[in-house]
Symmetry: C2
Subunit: 306 residues, 2 copies
């Protein structure tokens, strides 16, 4: 099958690319640890050529769509943020074409929450990919990570967005705070009971800044070992995020992300009576493929009329 799209998810620390067929199936994939933090200003075109030049020469007419931090002010070129409500058509309208008809950066999305903006780059594409995969037009989604994104989609348009700095705070507290003294830097032993205790604790009064200190005192009095402490900390932070952001019991949520983290969210959500389906990183490819189909419909008046 001939590839129809070169899809790239280009973020803060890494890039992932895929050659996709017209039906969205993945023909080839490529990943590299090159992202915003490691690419020099002005070095993006050369990095793109180095990583994907061979594919592009082999398929000279292929369209390339790039989503993620590649479109930020410190990225290759600054793509605007689509104001919400924003659907796939709005993302298509907002594409920043670096090579007309051939190479474009997908815009991010933004909302205003009580006069404060919130933004995402890359996740908007995964949102539409996940909904496409599940055949949904409306949903509540969470995309866990360094900056976890909660997104509400209604009738195919993103209508709400809230970022939580959960993953970043976890990393800082685990590695740089006083809690690091009781936490093993490389031990990721999964102790579900300790995680659950952290999630439950976060629902109690006291506040996150208070609950965090118990990770230290439980170690001080030797009531919990290091692996349990790391899982309690993870539960405290994810639990605090869910306390603030998760919908009511009986609702359903789509979790988009890598399996290990997505399963923690699914578990914590289940504890609140919220059902969660997981969609993996393929959501990026599905979203970029859906965006490419919009472009093709527009370029082909015959199909548009059909």
């Amino acid at each position: 099958m001939d590839p129809a799209l070169l899809a790239v998810d280009w973020g803060t620390t890494a890039l992932r690319g895929a050659l996709l067929a017209a039906d969205g199936s993945v023909l080839a994939e490529h990943a590299a640890p090159r992202g915003l933090l490691s690419i020099e200003p002005g070095g993006w075109a050369a990095a793109f050529e180095a990583e994907f030049g061979a594919w592009r020469r082999a398929h000279p007419t292929i369209v390339s769509l790039l989503a993620g931090m590649v479109g930020s002010r410190q990225g290759w070129a600054e793509a605007s943020y689509c104001p919400c409500p924003a659907g796939l058509d709005d993302l298509a309208d907002g594409l920043l074409w670096l090579q007309p008809g051939r190479l474009a950066i997908v815009p991010g999305a933004r909302v205003e929450n009580d006069g404060r903006p919130d933004v995402m780059r890359g996740e908007e594409t995964q949102v539409f990919g996940a909904l496409e995969h599940l055949g949904l037009g409306s949903a509540i989604l969470v995309l866990p990570g360094t900056h976890s994104k909660w997104v509400r989609v209604a009738d195919g348009r993103i209508v709400a967005l809230a970022t939580h700095m959960t993953g970043e705070c976890y990393a800082l507290l685990r590695r740089q705070s006083i809690l690091a003294r009781t936490l093993p830097p490389d031990d990721d032993t999964w102790v579900p009971e300790a995680f659950d205790r952290g999630v439950a604790q976060a629902q109690q009064p006291g506040g996150l800044l208070h609950h965090l200190f118990s990770v230290r005192t439980l170690a001080l009095f030797e009531r919990q070992g290091p692996a349990e402490a790391a899982c309690q900390l993870s539960g405290l932070l994810i639990g605090e995020e869910l306390r603030a952001a998760a919908p009511a019991a009986g609702s359903a949520v789509v979790v988009v992300g890598g399996a290990a983290l997505a399963m923690r969210y699914q578990r914590a959500l289940a504890g609140r009576g919220v059902a969660a389906q997981i969609v993996g990183a393929e959501a990026s490819w599905l979203g970029l493929a859906a965006l490419a189909r919009r472009l093709q419909h527009r370029a082909d008046p015959g199909r548009r009329a059909a």
Copy 2:
């Protein structure tokens, strides 16, 4: 006047000492940047001699009382934590005498909150000093800092304690997180309106992990400068602490600590309708002097009977 007490507050990063007269007045003070983080294991006795040996030789019968992290497991010697409720007499009973009748470390205090311990070292002494200063036997106190302590005292005994990692989280977020990109490392310009906005924002739904991200987005859209961002961040963290820990409007609180930080707490508390009195670092001297008087009463049966 002859000094009656060598009072030392010896913490994580620094020590402060004072020669006190029998009536508690300060005859001399001394400070040095030597604490838990910079003193080698086994080096405490030598450090004490270097900093205070001259005073002790000049007043050979003086009693020395040391409060703070000097009594932790990584300190000079581990003084136990007094279980709460704990009053001045309990602290006196729990003194760890390194030289009988001459040199002792003050114990910390601990509580159990829903099966999780909470602890302090040094603050228990400041609490009793502040109450002595104000002539109070019952109060709610906050001791802001790296690890902020909320303490409730009833009838001269500490009955409740909750630690909030507010100062440590502020430092981590300001210097090490993505927010550091928008925050000036050395600019402490005070922008009260930005601080107030942060405090108010922390009372709204959304959760701390979410609100933090607005420090970044407000800079991204150039709606706020760096000094404002630092004050908003301070307001968000102090506001989150008060949301969880502050008493209801109409209450009164004693804030114990340095003027700059204590005034931020006083301002944020006033915004919630809570009146706050400030007591400075002299609370340590007043607390150690009160403890020394208890010892003297015990040692002097004539006075005890009086």
